[in-house]
């Protein structure tokens, strides 16, 4: 029997630890299940997995050091859950030794790098823009206020949403983005944004602070809609604020509202006592696809060969391991999975249609 180590470098302490832990739990759960089932069969050999996690505190340079450490321990597959770290280590994937970089970030730049060893899990966020904007503009009006977070990712989002909003004929107010990580009290930022009397607010960052921004806005009498960046999850926000506050928001559909996620949701909740989000779900799926790809490739230590089998593996993934419907992996290394967005009305989620999908 053989034990294959899987690497993970993400924030396990500091402000982003919450996020890093969710990702870690997803991978861990997949590995646990695989091992309990006796592992996978690679060229007649039983292979089980072990997750080797290193903390990088969300710092790209730490990610680089961690990745070097993991690869020099003979690890061929490394999960990284933040755009900065991913972009930093992408050039390393093809240097000696090669490794498969599992990227958990919806940043399109990651795909633009055309890196042959990247495997990107979440849908690109640019998919959300058109439906979010048209839904909210129709429902509330043409003026958008901006209170997003100022992380790298958040700023990209803000720019993209601004552009889309204008494209569809709306007006955008001043950017009142605040750093969700260092701001003690959001109400003054919200007060400022609301002074422009917007119909819709763009918000988003980690779930909890995002919920607090919603709270501040509602308390100050804002009756309009919210466009919620994909980083924030409705299912986590509604533990912080009354569901009624979320009415009129558009964002990513909660994982447990997806059709067919019941098994995963239940098992995850039992194992981790946390809310299952797409962080956990997508990484869970990603790990399973990799295990399958190893099986198909007949190797655990040739990352190129494993990468070549990802598409086939995704298609062959058993039903019970599929959280979101999976149609394959693009040649560029991007997961081609179902993604659903929703608007909240009267405390209920209703799904939004996506016309054109970027892959």
């Amino acid at each position: 029997d053989k034990v294959v180590n899987i690497g993970y470098s993400g924030p396990l302490s500091g402000g982003a630890a919450f996020y890093g832990k969710d990702v870690q739990s997803g991978i861990e759960m997949a590995i646990g299940e695989l091992n309990r089932a006796g592992g996978v069969n690679v060229k007649g050999e039983k292979v089980t997995f072990k997750l080797v996690s290193l903390d990088d505190r969300y710092l790209p340079n730490e990610t680089a050091t961690n990745v070097r450490r993991l690869t020099s321990q003979g690890i061929n597959v490394v999960f990284v859950p933040h755009a900065g770290g991913i972009l930093t280590v992408q050039p390393l994937t093809t240097r000696d030794p090669n490794f498969l970089l599992v990227a958990y970030s919806s940043e399109p730049k990651i795909l633009a790098a055309n890196n042959p060893m990247t495997f990107m899990l979440p849908p690109r966020y640019d998919n959300y823009l058109q439906p979010f904007v048209s839904t909210q503009m129709k429902a509330f009006g043409k003026k958008l206020g901006m209170v997003g977070t100022t992380s790298a990712y958040g700023k990209q989002w803000a720019e993209a949403v601004t552009e889309e909003w204008k494209k569809q004929g709306g007006t955008v107010g001043a950017n009142n983005g605040v750093d969700y990580a260092t701001t003690v009290d959001y109400s003054s930022a919200v007060t400022k944004a609301l002074a422009e009397k917007p119909d819709v607010l763009f918000i988003g960052g980690p779930s909890q602070p995002t919920a607090l921004v919603i709270k501040a806005a509602r308390e100050q009498g804002f009756k309009g809609g919210f466009i919620v960046m994909d980083q924030a999850k409705f299912e986590q926000m509604d533990t912080v604020v009354p569901r009624a506050y979320l009415d009129g928001s558009v964002g990513v559909l909660p994982t447990k509202e997806f059709p067919g996620t019941q098994v995963f949701v239940n098992q995850y909740q039992r194992a981790y006592k946390k809310i299952p989000t797409s962080e956990a779900a997508l990484n869970y799926m990603g790990m399973n696809v990799i295990a399958k790809a190893m099986e198909l490739a007949g190797t655990t230590d040739d990352p190129q060969a494993i990468r070549a089998q990802l598409n086939a593996a995704a298609k062959a993934l058993p039903q019970n391991k599929t959280v979101y419907k999976l149609t394959g992996v693009t040649p560029g290394g991007h997961v081609d999975a179902e993604f659903l967005i929703a608007s909240v009305k009267d405390g209920k989620y209703s799904r939004l249609r996506v016309n054109k999908v970027y892959k």
Binding site: L12, S13, G14, G15, A17, F18, G20, K21, T150, N175, N176, G177, V178, D179, A181, T182, T183, V184, D185, S187, S188, A189, T191, K192, A195, P206, S207, Q208, P209, A211, L212, E219, Q220, G221, T239, V240, K274
Partner: protein, 286 residues
Amino acid sequence: MTLFLQQLFNALALGGVYALVALGLTLVYGVMRVPNFAHGGLYMLGAYFTYAILTGLGVGYVPALLLAAVGVAVLAAVLERLVFYPLRNAPHVHAMIAAIGVLFFLEAAVQLIWGPDFKQIAEPVPGILNAGGVIITWQRLLVILASFLVMLGLNFFLKRTLTGATIEAMSQNREGARLVGINVNRVGMLTFAISGALAAAAAALIAPIISVAPSMGEVMNLKVFAIIILGGMGSVPGAIVGAFLLAFAEVFGGFYINLDFADVIGFAALVFVLAIRPEGLFRRGT
């Protein structure tokens, strides 16, 4: 105008919280000459204690606040005994590094016990007060009132009671304090306990407005250090004035200049003031 008033209340609430946290820090600095970088950790702990007491004991908000304050006070006193007391004659950098070690530990311990996710504390009095278009939540009003009350109480304690005088005496001359019969060890612990209690009270007050997370102390740390330098290290009135200055700079600077730079504005103000008055606003006499 309503907008201005609205922001005024925001700034007052923020300033009140800053002041409570900064007061503890400045007291400890004044008495022990320790730049206590673990102070933000105590603040964070105060929020978690409040959370744990609320969810675990099922008591009301006010008893939870008081219990958390007592809990953190005890812990701070223990810290003084174990870490800072033995370092009282060492160079300041040592105490500073030790304090950072304590901060690391507290953060990691809290994350281990309560997890890395954000916790939410329900507002004891939910809802808002709408006074002619100026909207203020009851919690903010509570923060403002309570922090002013605590500040008044502290001032009375320091200026009007003999125990308070011993704290001031020790901050000015440790040996002299020993010679008149003051038990400086007890005063040292007392000061740490007070600083812990103030930080915890501040955290419990603001916790329902913000979210509680293990790293919440780091940001506060930077701000309160900026505040006490601005006000003059060790100065009590300086800490209060500095706290409100920073809060006003952040809120109104963010409002009238640029929110993106709200944090920079605070520090820029600090650098600016120090460049003009290197000794801080309220210099202690020699």
